[in-house]
């Protein structure tokens, strides 16, 4: 029974994957492909955000990593003609370095919970302000346009945007794969123990700082790459769309509304929010400017109130509740044993 259901799940996943690969060929319009590409990119970002978030390391400043990755890469390309494929690694390393410094300081001084969220929020805003203050290089609030080379795959620029569709799908799959790998490793158990009770975890001999640093740096590095992907796709960078408080909160919204404790949660949350945003914008945005965002905000608040565990989390919980009679499902399943 168990085996057949796991085979069924794998078959379903394979089927969905084939549909996604085929999709651009049968897509009704480039607009739909564009929206789905955006969903892939933001799903990737919110998935790597949830690497930390699900262990109680709630960062409200992932915009900092997004912005640093994207800006370092774009500036290296614009000024030194360095290919974004290489620049991406440098940009993401810069984001990882910031995460390492910030993370070490936070974990060394035992900054957790609300305080960690507020520190990261401030760092996100700091990054946005620094980008604006360095306006001679970065273009400040006016933003920065990436030099257009036409079709230059070696420079991460494609004349046909469909390549970005596949590229971002690839990155999303990688993020999901890494999630599963983390889940199977010792790291998952250690971080889960830390997330539940730090003092207890350190008493059992878990090196708290080491594990927290590892996951924070990984998440920041991959977020930096996500920033590059997004910037290369849009070919325009702006501190407000990459680094401000708004972006950082938007990433959390996506992961939490989907359910950040589940593998598919961030992806489902992103799909839901991006489609909602686009639907409201297309159907009401032209009539009154701003009213679509009001509706969007109200929808977000209602979703948080009525689906506190996220869409996927809530659905999963009700299903498990029906079949097995126990609430929570995956979240509290295994005892923490090292």
């Amino acid at each position: 029974m168990k085996l057949s259901s796991s085979i069924g799940k794998k078959a379903l996943a394979l089927l969905i994957l084939i549909c996604l690969i085929m999709f651009p060929a049968i897509s009704p319009s480039p607009y739909v492909t564009h929206i789905i590409t955006l969903i892939f990119i933001w799903s990737y970002i919110s998935t790597v955000w949830a690497y930390m978030g699900r262990f109680g390391l709630v960062s409200l400043g992932h915009g900092a990593f997004l912005g640093i990755g994207a800006y370092v890469t774009a500036l290296l390309f614009n000024f030194f003609n360095l290919s974004p494929w290489i620049g991406m690694l440098i940009g993401a390393s810069a984001a990882a370095l910031l995460a390492a410094v910030l993370g070490y300081a936070c974990f060394r001084f035992g900054v957790i919970g609300d305080y960690f969220a507020l520190v990261t929020l401030a760092v996100g805003e700091l990054t946005a302000l620094s980008i604006i203050a360095l306006r001679d290089i970065t273009g400040g609030s006016l933003g920065l346009t990436i030099r257009n080379l036409g079709n230059a795959p070696l420079y991460l620029q494609f004349s046909n945007k469909v390549y970005f569709y596949y590229l971002s799908l690839l990155f999303l799959l990688f993020a999901l794969y890494l999630w599963v790998r983390i889940d199977k490793s010792k790291m998952q158990k250690a971080l889960k123990a830390i997330g539940e009770d730090e003092v207890a975890a350190s008493c059992v001999g878990i090196n708290i700082i080491k594990y927290k640093m590892a996951i924070t740096v990984t998440s920041a590095f991959l977020t930096g790459i996500g920033g590059v992907l997004y910037a290369q796709y849009i070919t325009y960078l702006n501190p407000h769309t990459l680094s401000g408080v708004g972006v950082s909160l938007a990433i959390c919204f996506k992961a939490i509304l989907g359910g950040m404790f589940n593998l598919w949660g961030p992806t489902i949350g992103t799909a839901m929010i991006v489609s909602l945003e686009e639907y409201i914008r297309v159907s009401y945005g032209t009539k009154f400017i701003g009213i679509s965002e009001v509706a969007y905000g109200i929808a977000l608040i209602s979703l948080i109130i009525f689906l506190p565990k996220g869409l996927y989390g809530t659905l999963k919980e009700t299903k498990i509740f029906r079949t097995k009679g126990g609430a929570y499902g995956d979240d509290k399943r295994e005892a923490v044993i090292l």
Binding site: A117, I256, F288, E293, V294, I298, I305
Partner: protein
């Protein structure tokens, strides 16, 4: 240069008074309801617009329109408690935070729909006082004195009335307060109403100083946060003192460098304080 710095420092102190008032509401809400009110600055923005509509468009005298605004903001506070905070009282902290962050999106865009993106100010010219080489704007002085009076009234309210006692008890320990017969639900409503009214008062004092636009509030939310954290979350005296520190630092740094660098410096101080003394400058470790 020195004169400029002294001027900036004095303006900073005067501004600090209003900032203390601003942070007081956020601190009170955090202390009592244990919730971080992300959309607090947006309340100030809405209050500002309300005063603008009443004085400029409907020609109501400014004192009267300020009083109406204060009442309206108290009602808005109650509505926020009823519709957003109360359903989430037992939810994870992050959900509370994000729901209130959702309010930012709603309020800012609502202002955008109604009033557009233009800067709007209240035409009210107040004289500039001159003491030796120091210039003081009358609007700053009124705001400072008004803020001090309001803060003293709040102190009396919290320490001399029954409701104030109940609020303090709820802030200390909500379970024990309930056992002592405090209706905590009503106290939460009173706190949010007081917090809302405070944003109305802040908006009234800001009215002659600033011009308002839909994104006016976000910077004040961040400043209020910084002040509250510097002083120690829930510590009202600490908040009062750190408001003056932040006021002086921002206005002096803005004179020495640019406005953005001044903001960056304030945020850096905030991050450092969070790392080294998360209990705040005046806080006691383990008190929270």
């Amino acid at each position: 240069m020195l004169e400029q710095l002294i001027n900036a420092a004095i303006n900073g102190i005067l501004l600090g008074g209003v900032l203390a008032l601003l942070a007081f509401g956020l601190n009170l809400i955090f202390g009592v309801v244990k919730i971080i009110h992300m959309a607090y600055g947006q309340f100030v923005m809405l209050g500002f617009y309300l005063i603008y509509v009443l004085t400029v468009q409907l020609h109501v005298p400014i004192i009267l329109s300020s009083l109406i605004t204060i009442c309206a903001m108290a009602v808005l506070g109650i509505l926020t408690q009823l519709l957003v905070i109360e359903p989430l009282l037992n939810a994870p902290r992050l959900n509370q935070l994000l729901a209130l962050a959702g309010l930012i999106i709603v309020f800012e865009n609502l202002a955008m729909v109604i009033w557009g993106a233009d800067y709007r100010g209240i035409p009210l010219s107040l004289p500039i006082l001159k003491f030796g080489n120091v210039y003081i704007r009358c609007s700053y002085l009124i705001a400072f004195l008004g803020a001090l009076v309001t803060l003293s009234l709040l102190y009396l309210f919290l320490h001399k009335t029954y409701v104030g006692l109940a609020i303090r008890a709820t802030a200390q320990d909500v379970e024990i307060a309930k056992i002592m017969g405090v209706n905590s639900r009503r106290i939460y409503f009173v706190t949010l109403a007081a917090g809302g009214a405070l944003t109305g008062i802040v908006a009234a004092f800001f009215a002659p100083i600033y011009t308002v636009h839909p994104h006016f509030g976000s910077s004040f939310t961040i400043i209020a946060f910084i002040i509250v954290v510097l002083g120690g979350m829930g510590n009202l005296l600490g908040g009062f003192i750190s408001a003056f520190i932040v006021g002086i630092v921002t206005s002096v740094a803005a004179v020495l460098t640019t406005v953005e660098v001044a903001d960056i410096i304030t945020l850096l101080i905030f991050v450092l304080v969070m790392l080294v003394r998360p209990q705040g400058l005046l806080g006691v470790r383990g008190a929270s």
